[in-house]
């Protein structure tokens, strides 16, 4: 499943795991870097979901006012 198909909850849960593992440390440098990159990507996905949601509400409210 590509990252874009991730639901908000899935992305958020995976992000939590990534942060946890990174904070535990212990992985190889290569792994840690890969984890970090994964974390950034997941955070972006979550952010996009939230911004999308906000836009939808704003649009609905705008539509509501000019009924």
């Amino acid at each position: 499943m590509s990252d874009e198909d991730l639901s908000y909850e899935q992305a958020r849960t995976e992000l939590a795991t990534v942060v946890e593992r990174l904070e535990q440390g212990g992985g190889s440098l290569e792994d840690s870097l890969a984890l970090w990159e994964r974390g950034e990507k997941l955070a972006d996905v979550c952010q996009r979901w939230l911004e999308g949601a906000r836009d939808r509400i704003e649009a609905a409210r705008a539509a509501r006012t000019d009924q």
Partner: protein, 412 residues
């Protein structure tokens, strides 16, 4: 074959061939009617006509619940004795016998006693009826139907052009301008009121577009409101499919209709308030609901955003360098440790060396050589300690304090 005949009554059976003359028929009718005999009758006086000069008074007596009436004749004395100043609309109980007047073929009751039913008596009857209906469960709360929140059409039974009609219509429209009414007018007091109200109720109840029926009437005397405690009306209201609102009289008036109806409004105006929501209130509620909706959703989004922000600001994500710094630090630490331990080892090695050298030197023959001794070795390095270890002509290596000599054995 001739018919068997009763004495002076003509043939027993009338047949097309031997029909009875009118006089016989009317005489038989008279006989049949007389069979009822004396009865006590309860009814309401709709009309009184006193023929000047004749001792007879004619009354029209109506049934309070049904559209039926009978003519009553009574001698003036009977009337004056039993019910002086009898007025139209009064409730009477009379002792009478049905009489058939052959010449005009009319029927009427001849009363020999008339009693006016006083208000007390009427109210006592009402209480008795109330207990009866209650016992039958007509007042049971669980049988009451809920009113629709927003009725499509409201059925209204009230007096034509009455204040009650205006109150209900005006107040309802003020609250919900789009409300629709179907108004049926009926008498709201006196004889004939109950049947008209019941008829109107049936019409509105069968009208599927009507979602609630209001029976409304303004204030009035106890007698005026009596129709609204009528048993037939109460049973009709109880049996109606459509919810019924009773809005009779003032706050304090509670005719039996109030107990049977699905909702008791204290006044017609109160009824209007109870049957339609107030548009302005509803719009405000709508706004509140929307605002809470927005706050809830936006609140949730903000909380989630903060959560993501929080994660994002965690060092592992915010400053990935920290990962590298950490490792770099580890590496440096390791390197330092390595360096130190290396140094340490070198120093120790150095010490060892110096030690060994010192021991070497302590063991070394240099000092002895200094004192003039020399070390004699065979070419194979063997140090010669005895003469017999070598033979003449062997080569020797003689190491002196300073330098060394090559020599050969002359003789041993």
């Amino acid at each position: 074959m001739t018919q068997p005949t009763e004495p002076d009554k003509g043939p027993v059976k009338s047949t097309p061939d031997e029909p009875w003359p009118v006089r016989v028929v009317s005489q038989k009718i008279g006989a049949w009617i007389a069979k009822l005999g004396w009865v006590w009758v309860d009814g309401q006086v709709a009309q009184i006509s006193r023929r000047p000069g004749s001792g007879v008074v004619f009354l029209t007596l109506r049934d309070p619940s049904a559209d039926l009436s009978l003519t009553v004749t009574a001698h003036r004395d009977v009337l004056d004795a039993g019910a002086p100043e009898l007025a139209e609309g009064a409730r009477v109980t009379l002792h009478a016998k049905p009489e058939f007047y052959p010449n005009r073929g009319t029927l009427s009751l001849r009363a020999d006693e008339i009693r006016q039913v006083g208000l007390g008596e009427l109210l006592a009857r009402l209480e008795k009826l109330k207990r009866l209906l209650a016992a039958e469960g007509l007042f049971a709360r669980e049988r009451k139907r809920r009113l629709p929140f927003l009725p499509g059409k409201i059925g209204l039974i009230t007096g034509k052009g009455s204040a009650a009609e205006r109150d209900v219509l005006m107040n309802a429209r003020r609250r919900w301008p789009a409300v629709e009414f179907r108004v049926l007018h009926a008498l709201v007091q006196g004889p004939g009121a109950v049947p008209q109200i019941i008829d109107a109720l049936k019409v509105l109840d069968h009208d599927d577009t009507v979602d609630v029926i209001v029976i409304a009437r303004g204030g009035g005397s106890v007698e005026d409101l009596l129709p609204f405690s009528d048993e037939a009306l109460c049973r009709a209201v109880f049996g109606a499919r459509t919810p019924v609102v009773s809005a009779i009289g003032h706050e304090t008036d509670t005719p039996l209709l109030d107990y049977v109806a699905d909702l008791r409004a204290s006044t017609p105006t109160d009824a209007a308030k109870r049957i339609v929501p107030d548009l302005a209130d509803e719009l405000r509620l709508m706004e509140h609901a929307r605002a809470r909706l927005d706050r809830a959703v936006l609140g949730m989004i903000d909380r989630e955003r903060q959560r993501i922000e929080a994660w994002r600001s965690r060092p592992v994500l915010a400053r990935p360098e920290s990962l590298i710094d950490q490792r770099a630090a580890e590496v440096t630490a390791l390197r330092d440790r390595a360096g130190r331990s290396f140094e340490h080892r070198v120093r120790r090695a150095d010490d060892d060396l110096r030690h060994t050298v010192a021991r070497l030197r302590a063991l070394s023959p240099a000092a002895t050589l200094q004192r003039g001794y020399a070390i004699v070795q065979r070419p194979d390095g063997h140090v010669v300690r005895a003469a017999d270890e070598v033979a003449a002509g062997d080569l020797l290596r003689i190491r002196l304090a300073d330098g060394e000599l090559q020599a050969a054995v002359k003789e041993s």
